[in-house]
């Protein structure tokens, strides 16, 4: 994945850059809004990371300009302001996802990969597969191998999201935003309870557990290529 980082704080930019390289991606960095806009327009990146507050041209204006010019590269907005208003503004301006500083790198990477994948897999699938898990989106049926797994509607959505992002870390906030569709901050470990319930259904009678917890980051649905 080729990523353009537009961020004026050099420490943060370097941190993201380093993390991306370690994760096997390539990245360029711009420290000014106008430079970032030129680079994003002239090159073909898989995703952009844009800080909201930038010198010369602020992040939101940059995104609006890019969208006006017809550029649909997925954009992850970074911001030190973390309130609903800012989030709404950011998404209205044309951003695809929003992350508040400070963030865990795992969260950033998970979101970035989810964004890039969402844009590459545009075709509407009706059947999802991950390892020996098969999900029929039309028939609302899930099978692992030959065993039919009975899921509640929300568990179905949870598994669907995990399968769409299989072999990729998904964070608790990503699950909250995409499976439950609410942007909020639970004080307890409810998500873990939901995951362990799902795990009980898909992994219980099988030798290899697919749904794993990634400490300090989130969860991953591991699917070995069949």
């Amino acid at each position: 994945m080729r990523v353009l980082i537009i961020e004026d704080d050099e420490a943060t930019a370097a941190y993201i850059h380093k993390g991306l390289l370690e994760g096997g991606h390539s990245a360029d960095t711009a420290t000014q809004g106008d430079h970032g806009l030129t680079m994003a327009s002239n090159d073909n990146y898989h995703a952009l990371i844009v800080d909201r507050m930038l010198p010369v041209l602020d992040g939101l204006t940059l995104i609006s300009k890019l969208r006006e010019a017809g550029n649909q590269t997925p954009v992850l907005i970074l911001s030190a302001l973390g309130d609903v208003d800012d989030r709404v503004e950011g998404l209205k301006a044309g951003g695809d996802d929003y992350l508040t500083k400070p963030f865990a790198f795992s969260e950033l990477l998970a979101r970035l990969e989810a964004l890039a994948r969402r844009f590459s897999a545009e075709a509407q699938e009706t059947v999802l597969t991950a390892g020996d898990l098969v999900m029929d989106l039309l028939g609302r049926e899930v099978k692992r191998g030959a065993t039919v797994i009975d899921l509640q509607p929300r568990e179905f959505r949870l598994l669907e999201y995990l399968m769409r992002h299989s072999n990729q870390v998904v964070t608790r906030t990503m699950l909250l935003e995409n499976v439950w569709d609410y942007n909020f901050d639970p004080q307890t470990n409810v998500i873990d309870v939901h995951i362990s319930r799902l795990r009980g259904k898909i992994d219980k009678h099988f030798d290899t557990p697919m749904l794993n917890t990634v400490r300090g980051a989130g969860y991953i649905l591991r699917a070995t290529k069949a």
Binding site: F105, F184, V190, G216
Partner: protein, 421 residues
Amino acid sequence: MTQQMDSTIQAEIQGLAERYDQEGLQGLSELIAERINRQQATGNSIYLLTTFTLQPLVGNLDRWPKNASINNDWIEFQLEINEQTSETHVARAKIFRLPGKYGLLVGRDIHQLTEAKRRIIQALTWGLAIMVMLAFLGGIVLSRRTVRKIERINQTTQSIMSGDLSRRVPVTDRNDDFDQVADNLNQMLDRIQMLMEDIRRVSDNIAHDLRTPLARLRQHLEEARLEEDPSSKSAMNLEQSIKEADSLLGTFNALLRIARIEAGQVRAGFGDVDFHSLLEDIVEFYEPLIEEKNQTLETTIDANIVSQGDRDLLFQAFANVLENAIKYTPDKGNLSVSLIRLNTELVITIADNGPGIPASERDKVFRRFYRLDQSRSSSGNGLGLSMVSAVVSLHNGSIDLEDNIPGLRTIIRLPMMKKKA
């Protein structure tokens, strides 16, 4: 007018009496007849000369009026004008005894005079009534205008109090007292807005200045952990440190968020919220946790309740309350969630049969970082209910904590809000 007439009559009698003195009954009779003839056209003078026994001699009155005394006196009597219609006028006359006992009556038909008087009084009464009415109407119009002006100021201040600091009281170009009040209010608001922005800037700066080093700290910890063998003791310590940093950041973010909500700066997130599905979602979200503690949950959620609000913040607020109920109610306890609509109000009640909150502490739990003694050991940052209270007041609602005998009942009331046109 009556006085003037009386003196004319008096003078006339004097004249007639003098004529009688000089020329006797004959002269007087001639003079009376002459006067009657002369004034026939206008015809409001009355003359009658009678004998001692009041038998008419000369005059335009056919008989001495009934009930009239024969002393020198003023009388008023009904004067017959038309026998067929029996129309009568009021007449005023003076009776005079001539030497020789002849009776002389000189008077005037005062119908016109009384009519004129009546008209004048009528005109005055109407005039007065109209004046009073005009004054009244004028008063209403003026006071309505005043009330409207005050109302306008009121509306503006209300929307300002609910957080929309950009509103200003409208000023007309009449430059009256109201405009001066409005102008002063606006200047005051400018100043307040400036101060608020200063505060916001300061808190943003604090947020930025403190969060950035914290974020770096977290970054370094994360990098260090990645370099360690995941099973080693130092990796576990680093893991713990990251968690501590996260909770510090979490507290910090929550504080900033509450401050922003309280300042009413988050209204952009407002939209139509389906409270039914919002509460269903919350219940569904926490259901596994409730099941894990073997608690029972009873729900009564009315359908079709849509009002304006920020769904993420409302979810957060109701979730905080329900989370507390689950957390503090022992295993196998009972919980209930209900949503009903009472006229223009939504009432959300979340109750449990846990330990409850002592009455003396109920107001304090909404303070930031306030924790009950028995809950100090449990997880949480002491900001959950402050957040609830901030979100509820952002939606112009109210929150009450009551004794559920036993347990706690949290009642949140929110006014139904329609979408602004």
